[in-house]
């Protein structure tokens, strides 16, 4: 399975990374290099093998359904690149 330029454009779109047209071809080559190298995994018979879900045998912990923190709007907004009156500001989304 080789990665062509259309595939690179499609996954860059999915990943929300703007990719200049000049970088599409080199990126396709780089990804092909990596994907060709991982192809060797197809040598292994994985029939009946369960995919790993947790590396340490442990039941996922549950916590009590209670509020543990809050009232920290200033802290939440402290790093916002566009923030006004405790709102995150973005370009208009709904026409």
């Amino acid at each position: 399975m080789s990665v062509d330029k259309d595939t690179v454009r499609r996954i860059a779109k999915l990943a929300r990374i703007a990719l200049d047209e000049g970088r599409v071809e080199p990126m396709a080559q780089e990804l092909n290099g990596i994907m060709a190298w991982v192809e060797q995994l197809n040598e292994v018979d994985v029939t009946g093998v369960a995919p790993m879900t947790s590396v340490v045998a442990q039941k996922l912990k549950m916590r009590d359904d209670v509020v543990t923190e809050g009232g920290n709007a200033d802290a939440l907004m402290a790093n916002a690149p566009g923030g006004e009156d405790n709102f995150f500001v973005v370009p208009k989304v709904v026409e």
Binding site: A15, A18, V44, L60, A75, N79
Partner: protein, 494 residues
């Protein structure tokens, strides 16, 4: 008195406790060393004022007869750990102005134990790299150079700044994180000790996430004893991290000198890879002899899926990264591009400007292997391979207690030598990455030098939550290797 920056962490602890030196005196010496070592570019952010404030508080506690396990001891913190009020960048432009409003659990544990923060260390962007060259803040240089050469070498990565800082004696010890070898590989090539604990031993809360099922924090130190000391302080059971495991954190120092008599040490034959450097092979053979001479029983074992570990990792880790790094969208924190147009433009341009080349590459690989039509062929297959890699260790541990392997396929290489070939760079982690896939603890111990005088490490891999045995075997290697090569302080003249 010896120069305080030459102290090991344990020696400094003993000197401070015995009031032979105050924390402020000790911290001042290190603040000066950090400044003098700027040519190494080991720090993204230096925090000398905070360090001296913390040291003064420590001295007051010590005067009252109080004080924790690390009271008054200056450490460097990898810039992946969120530190409240101190910029935390993950080596990325996208977080270059990010000031966390909360503290990571690991660093909180260190401050609770009395430690002093010297600053935040440079690293590969989002911990993706094996040479520290992908940092937005420029490469870090290895304090060690080849004999008779002035060429700069990489310190390994991704915890390259922490490794360089410990190796150059500009901090007593440092924190690192290890997703595929990012503690052990830089430790090996800078001549220091690096320990990756069992997955779940240290809380991941407040550590900028790369690949959540693989990331683990650990100590980077001058000696195995120091690693035992620092791990005990870093580790905890944390309700803020649901994968932190409820097991008691033992006193690792107590069992450190118990020796390896009767310990079964496995030698995995698959680690004898094609084209392995004769120097690495000779060092490995020496390591086997060192442990045998101290009474260990050497056992041949097989880890048949070893060669598939690295390609498996390069599916699993980018997949998790593409998901984790989706949060950087220019909205709530981090870099926001100007001239963005609509909301999609805001995302796409902020991410294109904020992420460096290697990070973008890995996000795209991750997006690809998780995308519709490829998910089963790549991601699910890789997760099955991960099961097989972990099962290999389970089988091997029926015959042995720990494994002994090389830590890296070679010594530090020149800056720029591997930056054009991603796969060549990835191969640096061939001996370390299996351990992350299986969630096991492992230590790299400086064990020898190349003919050119560059450090090499050996690795001890243990059973889950058996860091105590890993440290004990690491100590046995350390005693036999008697590694004492310190870099010439060329950066002071630079």
């Amino acid at each position: 008195m010896t120069n305080p920056t030459d102290f090991t962490l344990a020696e400094a602890r003993d000197a401070v406790r015995a009031k032979k030196i105050s924390s402020v005196e000790l911290t001042n010496a290190f603040v000066g060393a950090v400044e003098a070592a700027r040519p190494l570019n080991a720090f993204v952010t230096e925090t000398p004022e905070r360090a001296l404030e913390m040291a003064a508080v420590s001295d007051a506690r010590i005067a009252k007869g109080e004080g924790g396990a690390l009271e008054g001891l200056p450490l460097a913190i990898k810039d992946l750990f969120c530190t409240k009020g101190v910029r935390t960048t993950a080596g990325s432009n996208i977080l270059s102005n990010f000031v966390p409003q909360y503290e990571s659990t690991v660093t909180q544990n260190l401050w609770d134990a009395g430690a002093v923060m010297l600053g935040k260390t440079n690293m590969d962007e989002f911990a993706m790299g094996s040479s520290n060259e992908s940092s937005h803040f420029g490469p870090v240089f290895n304090p060690h150079r080849s004999r008779g050469s002035n060429a700069n070498l990489v310190p390994g990565g991704s915890s390259g700044g922490s490794a360089a800082a410990v190796s150059a004696n500009v901090c007593l010890a440092a924190t690192g994180t290890d997703t595929g070898g990012s503690i052990r590989q830089p430790a090996a090539v800078t001549g220091i000790v690096g320990l990756k604990p069992t997955y779940g031993r240290c809380s991941r809360y407040g550590i900028v996430a790369f690949a959540s099922s693989l990331d683990q924090a650990g100590p980077m130190t001058k000696t195995v004893r120091d690693a035992a000391m620092l791990l005990r302080a870093m580790a905890s059971v944390d309700p803020k991290d649901s994968t932190s495991v409820d097991v008691v954190v033992p006193d690792y120092e107590a069992s450190l000198e118990s020796g390896v008599k009767g310990l079964r040490v496995g030698i995995p034959k698959e680690y004898r890879i094609d084209g392995m450097s004769p120097e690495i092979e000779a060092l490995w053979t020496k390591g086997i002899e060192w442990l045998r001479a101290q009474g260990a029983e050497i056992v041949d074992v097989s880890l048949p899926h070893t060669k598939y570990a690295l390609p498996t990792y390069y599916i699993v880790a980018p997949a998790e990264a593409s998901s984790n790094l989706a949060r950087y969208d220019g909205v709530r924190f981090g870099h926001r591009a100007k001239d963005i147009g609509d909301i999609t433009g805001l995302y796409e341009k902020s991410r294109a400007e904020g992420f460096g080349k290697e990070v973008q590459r890995r996000i795209l690989v991750g997006t690809y292997v998780l995308s519709s039509g490829y998910y089963d062929a790549y991601y699910i297959r890789a997760q099955k391979l991960r099961t097989l890699v972990a099962q290999d260790f389970g089988e091997a541990y029926k015959k042995c207690d720990v494994l002994l392997t090389p830590a890296t396929p070679g010594p530090a290489f020149a800056v720029g030598a591997k930056s054009d070939d991603p796969v060549a760079m990835y191969l640096n982690d061939v001996f370390t990455v299996t351990v992350n896939l299986a969630g096991l603890p492992a230590i790299s111990v400086p064990s020898g030098l190349t003919a050119d005088g560059l450090p090499l490490g050996l690795q001890i891999i243990g059973k889950a939550f058996d860091e105590a045995t890993v440290l004990r075997a690491g100590r046995a290697l350390e005693v036999a290797a008697n590694f004492n090569a310190k870099p010439a302080q060329w950066w002071r003249a630079a």
